[in-house]
Amino acid sequence: MKLEILNVTKAFKGKVAVDNFSMELESGECVGLIGPNGAGKSTLLKVISNITDPNAGEVLLNGQEISKMKSEIGYLPQYPNFFHWMTAKETLTFMGQLSGLKKEELIKTIPEILAKVGLRGEENSKVGTYSGGMKQRLGIAQALLHKPSLIVMDEPVSALDPVGRREVLNLIGEIKKETTILLSTHILSDAEEICERFVIIKDGIKIEDTTISNLLNRNGKNKLCVEITAKDQKWVEIVKKLPYVKEVEVIGHKVNIKVENIKKNKNMLLEHALENKVDIVKFDMNNDTLEDIFLKMVVVK
């Protein structure tokens, strides 16, 4: 399996949602498409799953036009909305038959897949009575049913409560062993947990395409994080004037200090703080979280 997105551009009434976007996806990858609201994530995923046609560019799966390869793709919409009058079993039978699966086959696979997504025992209740998390899981079941080589998920966990999110994340973690996954999200800790590769998109433009370790290594150097109490805020002003301090950033009681050489300077800074009788709550070497990096990229650029 190989997905190629080539120079895709999509505009709505003059507003460009996706601007000349290209990327490639290899078999077995789990790629997170991250970006702020309105960055064009959903639009891009809709182009990939052939719901909207791009104004320019094309999407190829194994070298074939995507519109001819629909059975190789499983799509999970942002708000999966099934026919509320159908039961879960009927929904899966319906979607499965539309994907070209035989009825006998479905009779066998549907109970398996329902068990996998944790909906066993609910197969005969109407989808209209389902909670958001259950619908999401049914959506995943539906996307997995025809064993596609690529699964496209649009914000699979964003609308769920912590419990539902945990369940769905574990589920995705499990299925990523078997298929290639492309998912979009703006909850970075989720992406950090399940994806190995990130594509950051902003205003329809790809601004970063890298692996998580790469991203963290590149951004997390030479930083110390000191958490102090309110009465010692003055110390921050002194720190700013130290020769080896390059940058100081204050977030609440946390002070992020960028130094020239972390190995040499960290003890110097600690000594300095002790000399000034600073009440230290926490002192550690800071690695930027994905969120910090994301904010920096999206806000600054």
Binding site: S71, Y79, P80
Partner: protein
Amino acid sequence: MKKFIVLLKKEYIHMVRDIKVIWLPVVFIFLGITQPIVTHYLPSILKALGGGQGITIDPSMTSQRGGEVLASTLGSQFDQLGLMILVISMMGIIQTDKANGMLAFILTRPVTVISYIAGKIVSHYSIAALSVAIGYFASYLYANYLFTNVPFSHMISALLLYLVWILFIVTFTTMISTIFNSQGVIALISIIFLIGCRIIVGLSPVIDFVNSASMSKHAMTVLITGTISSNAIANLLVTLFWIVLMLFVTNYWIANKKFNHE
């Protein structure tokens, strides 16, 4: 073809769950029997309620023939209230799928747009045609009972002509439902256009020729005079042409994803 059957089956199951398969025929049975009963009993009702002073009741009113009564069932019941009910029952045919994203969702599967549209039209047309036929048959029984007998062959050929007009109604509503996004607008446009078509029948032969509502007029003519008018075949072909054209527009609209309006 297999996808078409799956989609068709889904539509039927939906209709059964919505009990549309019951209420739509019932509505048409009521509409169908209203005309013969009211026509038959109107003089007695007027006499009983109106005091009778100064009112002369045209004796020809009660001596209408069965065929005429059946014709006015089509003309004044089915083509007015019946048409509105049909349109309202179908206004969401495509629109609901568009609104809740199911249309886009279904099309992410390897399904052709044609099988999707065919599933919609065939299912909705068959339920509409069945309801109309049942209502019409009820009207036929009452007309035979309360007035003179209508020849069976006239009854059947009029029904067949009328069902072509019903197909036009279903296709038109489907097309409007595909193009517009609000149920109110869909109902309004469809009802005004279709009733407008029906009203202008008979104004000019040229308009009648391209007007599909003439099919309803032909059906009435068969019932009243017993002969199929010579224009009926030409009209039938023109109507079929319109239907194909509307199906084409619907298909074009969905296939080119014009329904995405984010």
